[in-house]
Symmetry: C2
Subunit: 238 residues, 2 copies
Amino acid sequence: MKIPELYENVDRFPVALDAIIFGFDRDNLKLLLIKRDFEPKKGEWSLMGGFLKSDESLDEAASRILTNLTGLKNIYLEQLYGFGEIDRDPVERTISIAYYSLINILDHNKELVKQYSARWFPIDDLPDLIFDHLKMVEAAKARLRYKAARQPVGFELLPEKFTLPELQQLYESIYETDLDKRNFRRRILSMGVLVKTNEKQKGFSKKGAYLYKFDKNKFDMLNSPSDGAGLSFKPPNV
Amino acid sequence: MKIPELYENVDRFPVALDAIIFGFDRDNLKLLLIKRDFEPKKGEWSLMGGFLKSDESLDEAASRILTNLTGLKNIYLEQLYGFGEIDRDPVERTISIAYYSLINILDHNKELVKQYSARWFPIDDLPDLIFDHLKMVEAAKARLRYKAARQPVGFELLPEKFTLPELQQLYESIYETDLDKRNFRRRILSMGVLVKTNEKQKGFSKKGAYLYKFDKNKFDMLNSPSDGAGLSFKPPNV
DNA sequence: AATAATAGGTGTTGATATTACACTTATAAA
DNA sequence: TTTATAAGTGTAATATCAACACCTATTATT
């Protein structure tokens, strides 16, 4: 028996990528959605998406789709889940791999976003979404909460320099709850990846808040034991 | 513009499902692997897998594939990750959605397993695996650790009644470390989903250990706030 | 019948982490 | 000069976690 050229008697499907794009505008956590100007569901809101091509990996395809909409490259992107209900797309049986992404809301290319009739929506006030896109958004919210619980996520969502009240506001949006100022500072600073600068943010408050930066090196170190680190049932002595 | 019949100018791909099947034999955590009797990579070890058909969802397909091998229905199964590197399969570009599964090692149909030349391997002594299957296994191990950290996982891996030393042994296999007997008992019992029976396991130790059962109801309750519950950065007052 | 061998079962203490909580400070605007 | 606003700071009570050693029930052996 020799190696076959192709698999025989196997169904083939379009593989879609859909992107849940989180942004933060110093006030609310938001999602970037597009208004479809094509069928099916023309005129309705949906996640940005596209189909996998044969010359790109899943990650590359997701990245391409995101660049198409935002003009940004090297965006933070993480695979979320594969959605594959039979009737999820009325046109044809497809499966979709959802990715979520964190971007600085000020960074994206406004022209491109306009082309797609895209808009930022507050996470707690989304329009109806097509297909199973709401399920995808819910999964992404849960994942973001999980992620933010064990490492600062502001890296991608905030500008290079940011204040602790801004970071706290971001966390409060993510968890949809209020946090105690003193406890929040202690916890986030104890992770040891924030560096205080001597600059103060002017204009917003009268006193002004100190600006902080992420320490990328320490952050990567925190990330690398990617395993079960930080779990509530962590084995002792580790 | 009307709704199209099918998507045009879109590549289509075989969608594979691969299953990481965990079992536990009261001693070691194990994986069920098959020896391929077909090309490519005939004679080598791999995960059990198969291709998605157009009349089944991803979950259904994964479940079918698992039933094919084990004879078991209603197996615990969870989607893990989508693997989509361009050259992951030498025959043809495919994408694979990996699922992991927990089964009682004594339950499966031995005939079927024999047909597939399948074998249980200790998790820390696996043979070489084809394609990207080792990556899949590593991801499944990490996921199982994560899962076991916040809820007892013995449910699927152990017989209906089991002793605490057995459950501890399972956890020690999962984390590949030793755990303190007293601390383990306190923690696992404090989750409140184990019920002590009056029976003692005879035969293995001289004293005999009490048998426990899972309380399915309480367990489901523990599971339902599927969100960010149990995280180390959990919001206060919740 | 007594003894030895084996694994099961149990509590406490010190260290660390988490929560709740209120006042002072720097600055801009009035 | 006063006032208004958000920034910034510390402590005490509580809960959680890790470390640690001995007794018990039973079977097998003599």
